[in-house]
Symmetry: C2
Subunit: 622 residues, 2 copies
């Protein structure tokens, strides 16, 4: 076994000879973005060797410059450990960006839960029980039940109690001197506690994304959100999209159990941290809501998602249902707590979208509304006269900065905005530090500006210096550089960038963006066609998802990601899935609505429509 | 570690130095009767050392004759292992007497299940499902549900399915080429299987006794009992009554978990053996009924029985309820199978009695019926005009041959009948082999005969030779032998007994029997008093339990164990608890009746009645 130390965490771990750095990081609990799943294809897992390890593989030479190799940069997935080493993990590849996903207030509109006057059905009742005697030999359970029925609590005629609760009753009620608090949900006893704890009843809503898992802790009495924590989905080490996760399940022994355990561990961390932040006891969490895409839904439940990936794309279950914490191995909540899994719509439209739709007015108003969740999968929902249609398109990870040469997620140091004139290029980074790369919104801005200036053609080509429109200055022209794979555009010079490496927009980056925006726009067009309305009829476009919060509406419209409508009709709704999940946590009625929504949505399978390819090709141009 | 071999099983086990033979036997899975719980008080755990071990402890000298010690007999609980040894376990102390407890036909009356035309609610349906396509993207679960709803099966509008079933659906239905059998109970999916298995649906009823655990495997379609297996409750090694089990829970770390595991292991063996005998797959067992005394009920469920033992005798739960196999750790049945735990009446009147009452007409006819279950606890139930009263009395283990100098259980070689004249003593053993000891029915017979001949006084004393009535022959008189603890009576001479040791009836044996019969009779008297009827009014006395099957009605009546009524009113009903459990297995209605019975029974706490002691003392004399 060889010791390896990770900086800046100073985490040590011992591994077998020949273990890759990526595997060692996984074991040490350090997550980074690995879009290719550790296959040496994307070159994103660049780490810095501080001490030892000095071999370089041919694959690494492909992705690293001579200078980088000299400085000690290596690819974590290619470098094997044969001696004691110290490795530094650069911050920009770390997936640790809590704030981004827990803030829901960035949206233009936020349908506040309280507007529905949501009220949980959880009831906590304090009982001062009579003590047993030879004249009163009722069983412990009868004693509790009889008292509850005296209190005229509704709906407890057929009271249910689990083995877990029954087991703790005899010692607990005697230790409590027969003064206990009973927690009820419907006709079920959720908990019995020593003394009066009637004020402590909480719920937690989880949004399990392919990349990020977020938990929102809510006080079930007041409806208030007490704390929220986001974590990277640790499965990301197996690849950044759902397909790579499904492959993992199919190829690895116990792959499904492993992926389930990884998600559950993350939920456990979120439970601990949200409870700690809010200063509550996690045993008082009685209700849980789960949303996520259909694959994450299956993986959380331990259901095999293998039939989601190939046509005809069949999930195991779509409808909502309720299970118990004990049905999920190792989930660290009160064993009797309920877990409500919200419904999915299809293999590629999950409960996260259902929850997102719930948080809007689409399902209850007559308006024509277009809901777009921008991510690796672009999910599009269209409403008209309370009817709903949806489709899902594989946009690829370009919006999240993946497969983009200098791409990165929307974290500190990412270029998030770009403005250009014929003479200058101006950019802005998150937290105003030296740029490390470009994130989705920056990419959209940059391409939009270059299209406007005529530097990118309608078909998406970066034009040659010579063919630039006459008004373009030399300063700008100089940034267009020829390369084997077409022209590239120098956005930030090496001396101004963090790490000293220039930031380019390559021809391939533009192609990636074109594929992404065309997929989404073609999906929108097909939905409009199915419903028989034109883009002009859309009264509201709602942009959801983390990326949706940062994008410039005008740029998005200009590059043809969304239909060309007046800007005031385009709205950000932030983390709509989280909002909808919280609403469902607080209200049975809202949970029923999600089931209604999922049934009402007519799912349009794009792969079976011959006209989709046509629309897709049309949508490629700018 | 030292190797120890047990004969005749030829089982080997390795143990630490200093382990007692009893502990080693327990680990090897060999159960014997240890009434004192291995404390060196009863001398019953007599085993034969074939090789090695030769020390003798003072306690052993108390219980073993010089000759026995020379031959190699030792007490298993006192003898520690320090070198490799071979030990023979005599058959008569083995608890392995399957037939005794599984035969229910010995009773005079046997309320046949079919008289109620019992029909299980289990439904198995074969489905030939449509295969998924791009035009039919229903989830696997929807596909199954939709087909079921087309088949007009009642009561499945709100169909429930467990995670266990959901997890296996995707692979199973594809392996089965979409031809599957769904098992339903109420609105719940119990199983999904490959192909057509509609003919295989079984249930198992367990009667968990302090000493013996019996399982009855039943075909739920036909109501037929397919096989039955009895096993010794392995907890017997911790003592032979419920109090010693409760002490074990209180004193041992993880005592409750240990006792639960011991019962569950026994149920698992019974499940395997009944399934094997019947030639069925145990995964097709979907329903389970549990009856037993209240302490066994708690131990099976993992509920702490500690408050059952001290006044005011409080169980955790009395009412019936349904749980899932997964609520019982390590129970080897289909995880989704239902377990119905029948209701208890009080800390000392368990579900076995409720099931016993169910198997009679007591709860549905106007008759005055007295139900007596003879065991370590004597449970008495009295019915009059469909009202029911019950009490429980601590009879002690005399009827089961324990605490009787030559006592043994009603297994091969036990003297089960005794007839005497003034000149001769005749006895009969089970299976007509050389006598090994005397069982409960033989003891009752012997005492009865001696009382009739005037050899035992009204107060229970064996009289001196000189005081014998004149008609008693010398042959009989010679059998009365003086000893320090009063006279004893030689029933079988050493040369005629197995093992060469004479079989005596001691003064102390008679006292044990007096205590047992007086406890039961006093209980009966109190019930009659509470109800306000005289013994003559009783229209039927029903004797239940294994011991009840062997006793001579006339002797029982003569010694004052039961009221003096015409013999035709006294009936054996065999293993009534097993019959009632099977009835409940087959019918929801019958399960409801057990709940009604348990509520209807007025429990009379004898310990709070000052007149009980009075009746008890009166009932001591013959």
């Amino acid at each position: 076994m060889i010791k390896i130390t990770f900086l800046p965490d100073k985490k040590n771990i011992k591994v077998d000879k020949g273990t890759t750095i990526l595997e060692a990081m996984e074991r040490a609990g350090i997550s980074i973005d690995t879009p290719c799943g550790g296959k040496g294809i994307c070159g994103k897992c660049k780490i810095l060797v501080v001490k030892a390890i000095d071999t370089v593989t041919p694959i690494e030479r492909k992705f690293l410059s001579e200078e980088e190799i000299r400085k000690g940069f290596r690819l974590a997935c290619q470098t094997k450990i044969f001696k004691e080493s110290i490795i530094e993990i650069p911050l920009e590849i770390r997936l640790d960006f809590n704030k981004l996903f827990t803030s829901k207030l960035k949206g233009d509109i936020h349908y506040i839960k309280k507007s529905f006057s949501l009220k949980s059905d959880l009831r906590k009742v304090f009982l001062d029980l009579e003590k047993p005697s030879l004249d009163d030999q009722r069983s412990d359970w009868e004693r509790i039940k009889d008292r509850l029925s005296l209190m005229k609590i509704e709906n407890i005629s057929n009271l249910k109690v689990s083995m877990e609760i029954l087991k703790k009753i005899p010692n607990l009620i005697r230790r409590a001197d027969f003064r206990v608090t009973v927690t009820l949900y419907d006709n079920e006893v959720m908990d019995i506690e020593n003394g009066d704890t009637t004020k402590s009843g909480y719920g937690i809503a989880f949004d399990i994304g392919t990349t990020t898992v977020v938990g929102y802790l809510v006080d079930l009495r007041t409806g208030e959100e007490l704390s929220a924590v986001a974590k990277t989905n640790p499965q990301i080490i197996h690849g950044d999209d759902v397909i790579s996760r499904i492959e993992f399940v199919q190829k690895q022994k116990d792959g499904l159990e492993k992926l389930q355990r990884e998600i559950v561990n993350t939920l456990n961390e979120i439970i601990r941290e949200t409870a700690q932040k809010a200063g509550i006891n996690k045993n008082n969490i009685y209700e849980t809501i789960i949303v996520g895409n259909t694959c994450m839904h299956h993986l959380f439940l331990g259901l095999n998602p293998s039939n989601i990936a190939p046509a005809p794309y069949i999930p195991v279950i779509k409808e909502s249902f309720c299970l118990k914490v004990k049905d999920i191995p190792e989930l660290e909540l009160n064993l009797t707590a309920n877990i409500y899994v919200l419904p999915n719509i299809s293999a590629f439209i999950g409960a996260d979208i259902v929850a997102g739709v719930l948080s809007t007015s689409m399902w209850r108003e007559e308006k024509i509304v277009l809901f777009v969740d921008l991510g690796t999968n672009g999910e599009v929902v269209l409403s008209s006269k309370k009817r709903l249609w949806a489709c899902s398109t594989a946009a690829g990870p370009a919006f999240e900065g993946a497969r983009i040469s200098s791409g990165m997620r929307a974290i500190e140091g990412a270029i998030e905005k770009v403005k250009m004139t014929n003479k200058s290029v101006n950019w802005q980074t998150i937290n105003d530090i030296k740029p490390k790369g470009i994130c989705g919104s920056g990419l959209v801005d940059l391409v939009c500006e270059m299209v406007k200036l005529g530097l990118i053609s309608k078909s998406g080509k970066i034009i040659n210096r010579k063919s630039c429109p006459p008004k373009i200055s030399e300063e700008i022209k100089k940034r267009i550089i020829k390369s084997k794979e077409g022209n590239k555009f120098l956005l930030v010079k090496g001396d101004k960038a963090e790490g000293g490496k220039p930031i380019y927009l390559t021809q391939r980056d533009i192609r990636e963006l074109q594929l992404a925006k065309a997929a989404i726009y073609a999906g929108i067009k097909i939905l409009l066609k199915v419903v028989g309305i034109s883009p002009d009829n859309i009264q509201e476009i709602l942009l959801a998802g983390a990326f949706g919060n940062f994008i410039d509406k005008e740029s998005a419209r200009r590059i043809g990601l969304i239909p060309h409508l007046p800007l005031r009709r385009i709205k950000f709704i932030g983390n709509a899935a989280g909002t909808g999940a919280e609403m469902s946590l607080l209200s049975k009625k809202m949970r029923e609505v999600t089931q209604e929504i999922s049934k009402k949505v007519k799912y349009i399978e794009l792969s079976s429509r011959p006209d989709f390819q046509e629309e897709f090709i049309k949508a490629m141009s700018f």
